[in-house]
Each structure stands twice: as C-alpha cells, then as structure tokens.
Symmetry: C2
Subunit: 187 residues, 2 copies
Amino acid sequence: MDNIPIVFNQIYDISHAAKKALSAISSIKNYEKNELIQPIGSRCKTVYVIKKGAARIFYLKEGNDITEHFAFDNEVIVRAESLFTGNPTLKGIQAIEVTSLIAIDAPSLFTLYDEYHDIERLFRLIFEKEYVHTVKRIESLQFQSATERYADLLETTNLVDKIPLKYIASYLGITQVSLSRIRANFR
Amino acid sequence: MDNIPIVFNQIYDISHAAKKALSAISSIKNYEKNELIQPIGSRCKTVYVIKKGAARIFYLKEGNDITEHFAFDNEVIVRAESLFTGNPTLKGIQAIEVTSLIAIDAPSLFTLYDEYHDIERLFRLIFEKEYVHTVKRIESLQFQSATERYADLLETTNLVDKIPLKYIASYLGITQVSLSRIRANFR
DNA sequence: AAATTCTTTTTACAAATGTTAAAAAAGGAT
DNA sequence: ATCCTTTTTTAACATTTGTAAAAAGAATTT
C-alpha cells in the first residue's frame, strides 16, 4: 500500500478496506526527463499523483508548444476536460524532470465510488481543490499584466529554478521573448 | 419540491427522500435587474441555480469592475474559491437582469452529503462539470487573441444581445475600448 | 576541450491593446 | 417628446506584447 499518496491522508481519511481497494488499482511509474506520460489526442483514463519530480500538461496551438499546467511533488495531475467527460483531449502530459508518480486507473476508480463512499468523498475533495486552483488561475490570466503574473510566480513557487523558461512563458500566456524582456526589467 | 432545479435530473437521479431533504434546504429568490445577490468580501454559503435570468460574478481590480463569470437559465453559480475553502472572497454576485433563482444552503448541503450518498454524488458531478468549464476558459484566456475570444463568444452564446458590453469586455480580459474596436472590425 | 545542440537574451520593427478624452448612440425618466 | 443618464464608439497617442533573426550563454555529446 505504498502506492497510496501520503497527501491523501491530509485530505480525508478512508477506511482500511478502501485503502486496499485503492491500492489495487494504483501503480507506481517512473519517467525520464522529457518523457511523454500521456500523448496528445488520448483520453484521460488515469489520475496521476506525483511522488517526486515534475510534469506539465501541454498542447499545440498553431505549431507552438503551450504549457497549460505544472505539477510537482505530491500534486495531482489530470486532464479534467477529458477525465470528466470521456472525450479525447488535444492535451498531453510530459515529465519535465526524472519523475516518479502514482497512477490510479480512473475507470476502476469511478467503479469504486459505488462501493466505497469514502473513496468518492476523498476524490470529490481532491478535485474541489483542483477546481479552486483553476479559478484562481483564471483570475490571474484575465486581468493581471504579464509582469504581475511573473512576479506572482516568483513569489509562490520555485519554478524558475528548475523549469525551462520557454515552458514558463507559455504558461503565463506570453512569448519567450516577452518573458525574457520582463526578466531583464527585474534586474 | 418545485425548488429543485430541473436540470439536476439530467445529471444524476436521486431518491425521493433525498429530493425532500434537498428541497428543505432550498428556496426560491427573486432579484431585480442590477441587484446584488452576494456582496464582495462575503463567504460563499449558498449554491445558486438560475431558474430564469442572468447573473455575474465580479470583483474590483484597482477600482475597475471585472466580470469573471456569467450564468444563465439552468446554470449553477458559486464562488468556488470561497465555497470549497471557507475563506471569504473578494468577488460578489449580481443579477444582470430580472432573475429568479434557487438558493441551496451550502452548510446544510454538506451535512446532507453524509446522510445521502446520492446527493453528494449529484453535486460531485455538478462541480466536476463546472471544473471542466473553468479549464476550458483558461485555455481561451491563455493563448487566444481577444478577437478569437470574442468570436468564440459570439458563436457559443447569445451574450451580446442581452449583456452590457462593458461586462463582456472585462470577461474577455480586455477594455471596453478594445472590444469596441474589435467589434468595428467585424463589420 | 571542442563541437554540437538547446536555451535565453537582445535587437529592430510590427501589431495589438491600454489610456484618456470626447462624441455619438441608446435607454430611462419626467 | 424632451431631458438626463448610461453605454458605446471613435480618435490620438502611449505602452505592451508579438515576430523574426541574430547573438550570447548553457548544457550535452563526442
């Protein structure tokens, strides 16, 4: 049962039986730096939790690689627009560095919801949190300047140290050149 | 039990007992055009479903009124960042036109989750949908031009007919002046 | 260590959007 | 219908961001 994310305990405590059932549909996977975890165009059938490392959700817009989301140690990563609709998505998931993660099979998970009320609750709470994160991100994209967004990123994360700037630029909704300019003003 | 949103039936069917319990914590409220439904700075303790009308979530950024979200007939409207954290929020809710809505008391609702598994599931599914909407909105804000965002809005909604442009502009992340210019190019 | 590749910065110019103010248009009130 | 208020458009100019290309810097491979 070492394939149950430790962070889950802090969110909602589930029964021993539930843990066993959850463990049975979870597995630990390891990825190299830059390795693709889920390809563009696939359906999201896995809930990932990062044990150690970093990953991003990305897609292509007119040939440009755009990073929509970053996830780090102990964070959940899913392509919600596919997981919760069953539709394929044009987004992929990629490891940014050497990454070890727990992969939970989503169809099995949804089946467990019927048998284990506490599992459903745990994941309800998990995704409510994710939902709140996306709402906050809208706020920042909607009416902050690129400079403000970059400053916030500096304050709230240590992203800049470990992640290529090209990924960060598109995450902020700007080009690499623009981010480079903003960084120059910070010195 | 006419205070249970009809749309709920299409999402997940709950038991008669659950409906009764849900009905007991729900009430119908009516608002005038421009009337404030929830003030800025409050905690979100209500899940609203619009029966008829339109409402928006808004906040102030450096004195400017910014619309973050619109909701219309049969749509849910909540300030997620407060509802799911318990924290107060700097966002408010306002009726854009004469609006009738169903107000579900959130603390009571969360209590019902324990007794009625099907109510928890219904609302899990409801908020998963909302979550997916916010993810799609990030996509549009992150790397579409203002013109693209406006074009999409025209295609997918009839917002422009009934809602002041000043609200739409900030929703798109641009100024009124800029939106007016974009509209001029569309003719 | 040199060569190669990838990433980041810089430059110059173009396009998009913001700001301020005024004019025009639309909507409500009397 | 006229007046008053609010909303939308237009104009002129400033600022920000994008684009393309080159240069500089890091990282990786040989």
